[in-house]
Amino acid sequence: MTENLIMSRRGVLRLMGLSAAAVAGAGGLAACGSSSGAGSSDAGGTGGTLTIAMSAANIPFPSTPPNQGYEGYRFVGNNIYDALTHLDVEQSETLPTPQPGLAESWEVSPDLRTYTFTLRQGVTFHDGTDFNADAVLFQLRRLKDPDFEFYSQNDAATAAATVRYIDTWEKVDDHTVVLTTTQKYAWLHWDMLSVYFPSPAVVQQYGNDDYNAHANGTGPFTMTQYVDGESMELTRNEAYWRGPAKLDKIVLYPQPEAASRLSMLQSGEVNWAEVPSPDSIDQLEADGYQVFLGKYPHGIMPRFNMFREPFKDNLELRQALNYALDREGTAALINDVGYPAKQWVPEGHPDYAPDNPGYSYDVEKAKQLLSEAGYQPGQLNLTFGYTTGGSGNMFPDVMMQKLQADFKAIGVDVTLKPMEWTVLLSISLDGLNSDKWDDIDVLWASPAAGMLPTGYNATFMSQRPGGQPNAAGLDDAKVDEYLTAASEQTEEADQHRYLQMMMDQAVSQAYFLFWMHDLNLRVLSPDVQGYVQPQSWWVDFTQISASGA
């Protein structure tokens, strides 16, 4: 069987090469693999309690959808709830894709406007009521129908992007639901990954305002305790339709400080720590902890302000800065928990542009391009807005100072403008053309690059929904054309073909600083077994056990 593999960083890098080759071939479906292969711990054993130090600032709400970004989905949403489709994060070999979840199967009409979902039978919510088409419609109305008695303004606002393309919904029978889309759209089953279904009976009993205290879904764990700001306890659902999970309990703690997550792990208060301080990895490995690193769709890809000078219409400048980045050096500063990016998605991703070499570290070329761009050394001063907080941002302070040094080496000065996470989000909403923010030349961005094909919209399209321009001013007709075309292809291979063309255009035009990919640093104590590190933000908890309890 599998051995206890504690991954060293060298091992990971070697493995990435192998898995890149594997992924390039995989494309679409992946088998629900066993946990053999890279990035897993010893399988076997049952029971135990997993105590987790999350990087979120607070416990994610057990609402539908949860908040706190993808940590909300990872730790709370996917455990309490199921969706119609399900990412196969039980395996680590291939990039996860939508698999049957609460929907056993689905059919898409040739014009890509009608989706027929056949629902799984015999599934019950934690309160014992049945999951069926009524439950599906109930939730869709909660998210999309302001006249519905149980319409939830909060959930609707948070879920807006995932249900934007749903036009109508209809129950055919107790186990069949038909959804139509607002336009030709190949990716509704990807969107449905993020739409969770609560028990209608519970929502009706407690109302939206009080629902969170009684969250109730169909997932592998039930919520047995929830103290806002302190902790959440999830307990195994014995009646789970896939079969009960191995763990007895999961306890979640919020801890936005990396150093504190580290101390919690070392003191034994938790046996799972998200992203501890990178410098501690060597010590942790020496002490017997399981350090996991693995490729997944996440990167730091700052956006150039394309609304005005100096980046508008100046390809040479954008390229110059891309060549000026010492990515290896940055990776070394964070103890290799990230690795250099050539394009927006990692190499090996199906949307990676195959013939485009991307950008490397070439100071001479950078200097040359800078002068071609029309700037002498010392002439250009850029204001770079970045965030110091918010989980999923890797290590902004360290990385930004390195970037500052890199740019200075070719004669470009950078003024750092740190801001709170909320402010960064505000800028993404307002756009860099807003008076409030128009002094910013480059904006930090940490996209889940390539996790969902729908994730490209906000960053690449020239128009955001509602007629707003792209937040960074990106306006490329070709990019729009390819992305739209991709969303209208029936065959996945064709979708990826168009996306590759889009990626090729974006890379050649250097619309972003292609900087780092994240390696999903996670440290588990030795007593945790059965963990498989998927190539995803989400994790499967059903096969994990903890003997230390």
Binding site: L333, V398, K417
Partner: protein
């Protein structure tokens, strides 16, 4: 605990060697002397204070440390060849005493000694400027309020109370958040935090002086309020203000360090000590001594300021 609990009990002061009976007598003598002939007495008062200060050993040591730190940070370019803002990433997190790096290097490979020296400028500025600023503004507000009494006085002091009814660090955070990051904004925030307590001290001192006879005399002799304020009240009030304000410098520095620890100070790569302490936290296990360096310097500077301020207080108050 809110680090910035502004010392309230001064000018009685604490830690002083002098009893309040002695102090009371000295204050009365001082007021009387000031009433008689301004210029001569003021000068010898300061000279006398200076002499007494120098006689106090701890005070001298403390003042020497402060001067040393100030000199070192001003002369930083001479004292160290390293750039505090750019480092050699391959050299990161070297321990104390490694070759060429007396105090080690930080997480970006920058020399710690250089960062500490240059950072001293920022810390000293963040300590002195708000204190002086608040002393001036607070004195104006407090004296005005103490002299005018009536509605204006009450309104002013109530407004001061509003700002004062707030834990200093939280007020600093609120102001700092609205102004944005940066040293000047930090200085403004700390100044605002300090104005109310200084105003209160000034107001109390003014009220104490205003009722005394020589003020009546000056008023009757036709001196304008402004003249009275300048020549009679201010010199008397100034003692209390200076004594109080001298204790604030250390507190100002710590509030500024707290703000930069929380990320509200100057943006990186500015070598602010508080910020350095935060960014080195992650490597506390691997190179603890390097992590402690900026904290130690905050501590040292703060101790020196506090000791010097104690000695100054004693020197100003004990008059025999």
């Amino acid at each position: 605990m809110s680090q910035a609990v502004i010392p309230v009990l001064l000018p009685q002061g604490f830690g002083s060697e002098v009893s309040s009976a002695e102090r009371q007598a000295a204050a009365e003598q001082r007021d009387a002397w000031n009433a008689v002939d301004q210029s001569v007495e003021t000068q010898s008062f300061w000279v006398g204070t200076g002499k007494r200060f120098l006689r106090n050993k701890t005070g001298v040591v403390a003042a020497a440390i402060v001067l040393l730190l100030a000199a070192a940070s001003v002369l930083a370019p001479v004292l160290t060849p390293y750039d505090p803002l750019l480092g050699e990433p391959t050299d990161r997190l070297q321990n104390l005493g490694s070759s060429g790096h007396l105090l080690g290097t930080d997480e970006q490979g920058r020399d710690m000694l250089a960062r500490v020296l240059y950072g001293g400028r920022l810390s000293l500025a963040a300590g002195f400027i708000p204190t002086v600023g608040a002393a001036i503004i607070g004195t104006v507000i407090g004296v005005t309020s103490g002299m005018l009494r009536g509605v204006v006085g009450t309104v002013l002091m109530r407004f001061m109370d509003m700002l004062y009814a707030f834990p200093a660090i939280l007020l600093a955070i609120a102001v700092g958040s609205s102004l944005g990051p940066g040293l000047s904004n930090t200085i403004i925030a700390v100044t605002i935090v300090f104005i109310p307590p200084v105003a209160r001290v000034a107001e109390q001192a003014t009220r104490r002086v205003v009722v005394q006879e020589f003020i009546e005399a000056a008023h009757l002799s036709g001196a304008s309020r402004w003249r009275i304020a300048r020549t009679q009240i201010l010199p008397n009030v100034l003692n209390d203000i200076i004594v109080y304000a001298s204790g604030l410098v250390g507190v100002a520095m710590i509030i500024a360090a707290s703000l930069s620890f929380l990320g509200l100070g100057s943006p990186p790569p500015a070598p602010e000590w508080g910020y350095m302490l935060n960014s080195l936290r992650g490597s506390l296990n691997t190179t603890p001594l390097v992590t402690i360096v900026p904290g130690f310097f905050i501590f040292l500077t703060s101790v020196a300021f506090n000791m010097a301020s104690d000695a100054l207080r004693e020197a100003m108050d004990s008059r025999l």
